[in-house]
């Protein structure tokens, strides 16, 4: 796998769309390209943010935050 192919696979990898047989090859290439590969994969995670930001924010129930903070504070004080 050359680096160009690795880049294509990386974008599939970060969204979890690699098939098991592709994953094996991908991991080999990941080792082969080392830091360059890791840096590229990190950049690909921007896709996650982009997809999330493409959605219109939804309103969460106010009770959710109250429950969450109660749990967190209880855990924090324990």
């Amino acid at each position: 796998m050359n680096f160009n192919e690795f880049q294509n696979q990386s974008r599939l990898y970060v969204i979890g769309a690699l098939e098991p047989e592709e994953l094996e090859e991908f991991e080999k290439a990941r080792k082969k390209f080392g830091k360059k590969a890791e840096d590229f994969i990190t950049k690909c995670y921007a896709l996650h943010e982009a997809f999330a930001l493409s959605l219109r924010p939804a309103k969460a129930s106010t009770a959710i935050k109250d429950r969450l903070m109660s749990m967190v504070k209880a855990k924090h004080q324990a």
Binding site: R11, Y45, E49, A58, I64
Partner: protein
């Protein structure tokens, strides 16, 4: 509770402006501007790592809408989405020690975590079948799942969403659909091929081309994302 330690450790970097040379639109901020002196996302993550509940509270206020939208997009159930949102922020609190600024930005980390939890939830619950049915209906009514018809909704969209959706909407509908099923449904290439009655190789090509176009299109925004 102790007073919050969360004051901005450093003044947040002024947000860069996005160039929109092709559209001719004026430059606009990609993400909402923080109030002067407000802690950055990294400050808040550090606060959570120190065990400061106020940091989590602020992070929740900043991103609950985005994460809820993501969860809702996956599981299509308001009550379940709220429950999952709470669990996800609890996980953010519990797992904050695993966040590393070198691996990316807090929002990316949270979105990755939320997506994984939402897809897990979708798979575990019997609601999968119901959601599938809803998805089927939506797909039939609206083949391009990212494209909304409501003009008013478009007006309400923030600059960020408008820019990102512009990139996404520029893709051919089959590429959008493949990415939608992979990202928001957690489907494998084989599952997408079966669902859309498309050869596996075609699905792979659609995903590769679509993701590359989005990735390239986001280059203008890369400092912000």
């Amino acid at each position: 509770m102790k007073p919050s330690k969360l004051v901005a450790s450093t003044r947040p970097k002024p947000k860069k402006r996005v160039r929109l040379a092709k559209s001719g639109a004026r430059s606009q901020p990609v993400l909402p501007q923080l109030e002067p002196g407000a802690p950055s996302d990294f400050d808040l993550m550090k606060g959570i790592q120190r065990g400061d509940p106020d940091a989590l509270s602020q992070l929740y206020d900043r991103y609950n809408g985005i994460l809820k939208a993501l969860i809702l997009r996956v599981i299509h159930n308001e009550a379940e989405a709220d429950d999952l949102l709470q669990e996800i922020f609890m996980e953010i609190w519990n797992q904050a020690k695993n966040f590393s600024a070198q691996k990316g930005k807090p929002l990316g980390w949270m979105v990755t975590l939320a997506r994984r939890r939402a897809i897990d939830g979708l798979r575990k619950k019997q609601a999968y079948a119901r959601a599938e049915e809803r998805l089927q209906n939506e797909t039939e009514q609206q083949p391009d799942a990212w494209v909304h018809n409501a003009t008013e909704e478009e007006i309400e969209l923030s600059d960020t969403r408008r820019l990102i959706r512009k990139v996404i909407k520029s893709l051919p509908p089959p590429q959008q659909q493949a990415i939608d099923l992979a990202f928001f449904r957690g489907m494998s290439q084989r599952e997408i091929a079966a669902k859309t009655n498309t050869p596996l190789g075609t699905v792979k090509t659609r995903l590769e081309l679509g993701l590359k176009k989005i990735y390239d299109g986001l280059k203008e925004l890369k400092d912000e994302l």
